[in-house]
Amino acid sequence: MFEAFEYEFMRNALAAGILASVACGVIGSFVVLNRIVFLSAGIAHAAYGGIGLGFFFGFNPVIGAVGFSLAAALGMGVAQRRTGQRADTLIGVMWAIGMALGVILVDRTAGYKTDLMSYLFGSILTVPSGDLVIMLVLDVVIIIGTGLLYKELLAISFDENHAVVQRVPVTAIYLVFVCMIALTVVMLMRVVGLILLIALLTMPAAISALFVRDMRRMMVVAGLVGAAFTSAGLWLSYTFNIASGATIILLTAAVFLVCLVVRRGLNA
């Protein structure tokens, strides 16, 4: 089973999966606990507008995606903080605006768009070494950011009112956090594409949450679970010659469902 990894593209794919899983474990855990899966999915889809911009003006679509997902994250983050209950409407609107913009821009771009599908459904097999360096840097940024704000992030996730009473600058920290979601989203886009990435962001954390009782451990376990599934999914997709992103997602989902049932059984 290891002969597949004699190829550089497979080694790069494996590394990309593991690097993305680190961000997933850290950020996905907070996304799940704060119940902002919808907002995260919105950021992911709005990033498509940036990809369209890149295509249209002929620069690297990943840069466009970073810019758009950060802007979307801030817009949605502010909507979430300011409008409370009705925020999901605004987030849904921003989600759709980003995608619509992307569709039109890509449509108006002359030429053959080979790459397009890879942003929608992932292209882990074509990750160049240079992108791995970018992913590593993003991981470091996310880990340092989370480390510096850990006690505040935990406090906000657990009991926001109390965090306010304790003079935690809740809104500012929340906006930093949604920006870290945006960076994670761009990394995951490489691995499973922006349509499917929400599953990879949340499922390892959700699986981890079923079995651990401590936040730090939840992040570590979620990262390991994510790395295991992206690696295993990659190997399956290579062996059976099926789409890698979708294979990773279905494998993770299958294990997640089994874990839910097992957990039910343990509790009963």
């Binding site: 935990l154 996730s157 657990f158 009991d159 009112n161 009473v165 003079r167 401590d214």
Partner: protein, 259 residues
């Protein structure tokens, strides 16, 4: 008003009104708390109990009047106040241990980018001992009983050593036996700090608090132990026999015990 004596009051609220948008929730509130007061404010839901606590915590700005806590405005005075919410929003499976909840009481003291110190952790251990939570210190918060969770939240409020303790419906989610324990604990804490609690449940506060008031948009507080029918009628705007139903007799008859 109870301004008996030499010591300056811990907390003074004078002519304070507050609300949200056009809606006035609290009107011309006057309240003075002295050291080691133990005040229970009763009022119906929507009567402004939580808003009053939010004003004292500096989370809601009053539209009129003034609040002073040891001479400071509520925001800067937050270090001196411990706050115990009614309950925590997080779900039962939230992966957080008891010690990690209690140490959050030190957030304001440490501030951004500063880790909790060893003193913080020692203070947490002391608090857990004092509140008889040492056996559950390593458990997950969500796995505790309602009464234990309440005590953990009290420990969190106490860990930064405040002078005033504010409690919002401290026994709303626990059974009667646990209630007694919580109030015993509060009586003990009252030996070293001022306590203000708000509740809609008049039955529970009478035998422990030192003084009682009624809050429903306006505050009816005379620094007395017993609630008079007049106070209740003023606060609830309806004849007292309608609301006194179900109140244990001791609330209205405690007066006799005192003599």
């Amino acid at each position: 008003m109870t301004t008996d004596g030499t010591e300056a009051p811990v907390l003074t609220v004078s002519g304070m009104s507050a609300g949200y948008g056009d809606e006035t929730v609290l009107e011309k509130i006057n309240l003075v708390l002295n050291r080691r007061d133990f005040v229970g404010l009763i009022g119906p839901n929507g009567g402004g109990k939580t808003t009053l606590l939010k004003v004292l915590l500096g989370l809601v700005q009053p539209t009129a009047g003034e609040v002073r806590i040891n001479g400071l405005a509520p925001g800067p005075a937050r270090d001196q106040i411990g706050y115990v919410p009614q309950a925590v929003d997080a779900d039962r499976r939230f992966p957080i241990g008891v010690k990690d909840v209690v140490i959050m009481g030190c957030l304001a003291t440490r501030g951004l980018f500063h880790a909790y110190t060893r003193e913080d952790r020692e203070a947490v251990d002391r608090m857990l001992d004092e509140l008889e939570l040492q056996d559950v210190r390593d458990r997950r918060f969500g796995d505790l009983s309602g009464g234990q969770q309440q005590r953990v939240l009290i420990a969190r409020a106490l860990v930064a050593d405040p002078q005033i303790l504010l409690l919002d419906e401290p026994t709303a989610s626990v059974d009667i036996k646990v209630r007694e324990n919580v109030y015993d604990l509060l009586s003990r804490l009252n030996e070293r700090m001022t306590i203000l609690l708000v509740t809609h449940d008049m039955g529970v506060i009478s035998s422990y608090v030192k003084t009682v008031g009624c809050l429903n948009r306006e505050l009816h507080y005379h620094g007395k132990k017993e609630i008079t029918t007049q106070m209740l009628e003023d606060a609830y705007h309806c004849p007292v026999d309608l609301i006194a139903h179900g109140i244990p007799h001791r609330v209205l008859s405690d007066h006799d015990h005192a003599h």
